[in-house]
Subunit: 245 residues, 3 copies
C-alpha cells in the first residue's frame, strides 16, 4: 500500500535532483518516507535522496519498491502548478502509479525493479568539510564552464577554493573561513572534478541555501543539501578526475 | 468602406483563434461587425468567428470582403503592445488594408477572395451539452498529448469525462454535474477526437473562461466560447475520429 | 595601470552597443575614461563609444590600449547580476584583464592590439538633424524588417519620415515637428539604409530614451545617444545604400 499527498514543489524537488543523473529510478517506499539511491550510467556520480513522511500532507505506506521513469514523471508534474496538491497512489492490480492533479487522474505504468541495482553508499574518510552558500558555488561553476571541462576544489584550515584553467584564461573563487558558514579541514585537501557533473548537481539547489562539501585528496567529494522544506535530504557522491599531467 | 478602431487585444483574439487552423481567411465585413468562417486544409475542423461592432472603439463599414493572410497580419499585430489602439482602414484604390499602430502606418496587400469558399455551418442534432471551465479541458488535453494522438469525450446526465489511453498509461478527467457550470444530456454521448486539433482549438481560450461543448455519438463536437470582452463569439466544429477497433 | 570599478549595467551598456558590430575591440584607456572606435568587417558602420571616468565608482588609469574579445567579455558579464559591483584591473605581467564579480576572480587573456586599426571619424556636413524617441524608431525598423532589407529615412523642415517598401506592402512612420523632441533641416534630406544595421544599432537603446539622427542626401547617417546613466556617449555612423533604380 502506498498513498501520499504532497504539494507539487516537494515532488518537483525530487525530480530536479534525480533526473539530470538517471532516467530510471527505484523509489524505496516505507512508512518513514521515500528513499532512492542511483548511480549515473557512466558510474561517475551517485545520488542518495530521502524525503521524510513529514514532508507530505498525507502519507501511508507499506515497504515496497516503485520503478519510475523520471522523464515521464517530470512530464506529468509539469501539468501541475506550484501550490497544487498532488495525490500519489499505488494501484497494485494494474501495477500503475495513480497521480491525481486537481480533477485529472493520470495512471503511469511502473518499471520492473527486478534488475535494478541497490548501490551501496561507500564509506569515505574525507578530512575537509565546508558549508558554503549555493550561489557562490553556482557562480564559480558557471564561470568555469566557459573555459574548461574540469575544475579543482581545494581547502585548508583557513580557506576554500575553486580553480579552473583554460588555454589562456582562469577562474578563481577563494573564500576565507569568515566568508563561509563553516570550515574544518585536517591539512590540505584538493581534488579535480568534471564541471558537467558539478553543474547538474548544483542546478536544483536554491541559490540562497547552504551546501555542505566533504573533500579529500584525489578522492570523491560528498555534497549534501536539504530539499522539501528541510524535510528531505540529498547526498551526492562525485568521483574525482585524475590529473593527466 | 471599412474604417475601424480597436484595442490590440481584440484583434489578437481574432488572430489567436483563426491562425492555428487556416492561413488565408476571408473577413466578411458588414455594418454589424466582422465575421469569418473557415475550414482547415484537411477538412477536419471549421471555425466561425464573429466580432460585433460594439467590440470596436469605432466601426463604420459597408458590406464587403477582405482576404487576409493571417501570418502576415499576426506579424504586424506583434508590433503593437497590449492597450495600443489600432486603426484599420480599407484603401479601395490600392486594395490594401491600412493598419495604423501609434504613428506607424502599415499597408498590407489583400488576397483575392474570388476563389475562397463560403463554407456552410452544418446543422447538427447533438444531444449532450456541457459548460466547463477552460482550465480543466486545457489540463486534460495537455496530459493526453503525452500518451496518445486521440482522446474520447463522453457525457451522461450526471457526468462529463475525457479519456485517453496510451500503450501503458491513461489519462482520465471526470467531472460530475456539481463540478460543472452546466450539463444536460439526453442519454449517453461519446465521440473520439484528434488531440492536435483540440489542442489548437483551446489554446486561445483564457483558462478561467467557460467553454460550451456540444456532443453526440461518433459525431462532430461543437465548441463555443466568447472572445473580445464577450463582444465576440467563436464556434468550432471538429469532426470525430472513428475508432479503429 | 588600469583599475576601475563599476556597476554591471555600465559595462553591459558598453557590450550591448559594441558586440553586434565587431567582435575584437581595442579599448583606449586614459585618465578620462574609456573610448573605443571600431568599424564593422563589411565597412558599412562605425561606432565611437566613450564612457567617462565619472560613470565608474572608482577609476584610475594611465594611457593604454586593451584588446578585448567582446564575445568572451559578454559571457563573463552574464555571470553578474544587475546591481553587482564589477572590478576591472589590468595585470601587466600576465597581460590579462582581471575581472572580479563578487568573490569570483576571472582572468581574461587580451588580444594583441598591434595590428588593430585606429579608424578616423570622417567629418560630414549633414544638413538634417532630428531628436526622436527611440521607441518610435524601434517600431518603424521592426515593422520594416518584415517586408524589405532597406528603408529610407527622410526629413524636411516640418517632418521626419521612415519609409520601407516590399513587393506589395509598405511601412511608413511620419512624425511632424511637434511630435519630435527636435528637428532642424536645411531643405530636404533623404538616404537609404540597411535595415539589418539599423536594427543592430538601435537594439541597445532604451525605448524611452532620445536618439539624435543627422541626415544628408545619399550620405551616411550619424546617430547619437547617451549610455551609462548619461555619463557615456555613442556615435554611430552608417553608410547609405545606393538606390538601384
Amino acid at each position: 500500500m502506498f498513498n501520499a499527498k504532497a504539494k507539487a514543489e516537494i515532488l518537483k524537488d525530487l525530480i530536479d535532483v534525480t533526473s539530470p543523473l538517471v532516467n530510471e529510478v527505484k523509489f524505496n517506499v516505507s512508512e518513514k518516507g521515500i528513499n532512492l539511491r542511483a548511480v549515473d550510467p557512466a558510474h561517475v556520480a551517485m545520488v542518495d535522496l530521502t524525503i521524510e513522511k513529514d514532508a507530505f500532507d498525507e502519507f501511508k505506506a507499506d515497504e515496497m519498491e516503485l520503478g519510475v521513469d523520471m522523464d515521464k514523471f517530470a512530464g506529468i508534474m509539469r501539468l501541475a502548478s506550484s501550490g497544487d496538491s498532488i495525490s500519489l497512489t499505488y494501484d497494485d492490480k494494474a501495477n500503475r502509479l495513480v497521480i491525481q492533479i486537481g480533477n485529472l487522474v493520470r495512471k503511469m505504468a511502473l518499471i520492473d525493479t527486478a534488475g535494478m541495482p541497490d548501490p551501496k553508499m561507500p564509506t569515505l574518510e574525507l578530512p575537509g568539510k565546508v558549508v558554503v552558500k549555493a550561489s557562490e558555488l553556482i557562480q564559480g561553476v558557471r564561470a568555469s564552464e566557459a573555459i574548461s571541462d574540469h575544475l579543482a576544489i581545494s581547502m585548508n584550515k583557513d580557506n576554500f577554493e575553486l580553480f579552473a584553467e583554460g588555454d589562456t584564461d582562469t577562474v578563481n573563487l577563494s573564500l576565507s573561513k569568515d566568508m563561509l558558514e563553516g570550515l574544518t579541514s585536517n591539512g590540505d585537501c584538493k581534488s579535480l572534478f568534471s564541471i558537467d557533473y558539478l553543474s547538474n548537481m548544483i542546478k536544483p539547489v536554491k541559490s540562497s541555501e547552504p551546501l555542505t562539501i566533504h573533500l579529500g585528496n584525489d578522492n570523491p567529494t560528498r555534497v549534501e543539501f536539504a530539499i522539501a522544506n528541510k524535510k528531505g535530504h540529498v547526498t551526492y557522491l562525485l568521483a574525482p578526475r585524475i590529473e593527466s599531467e
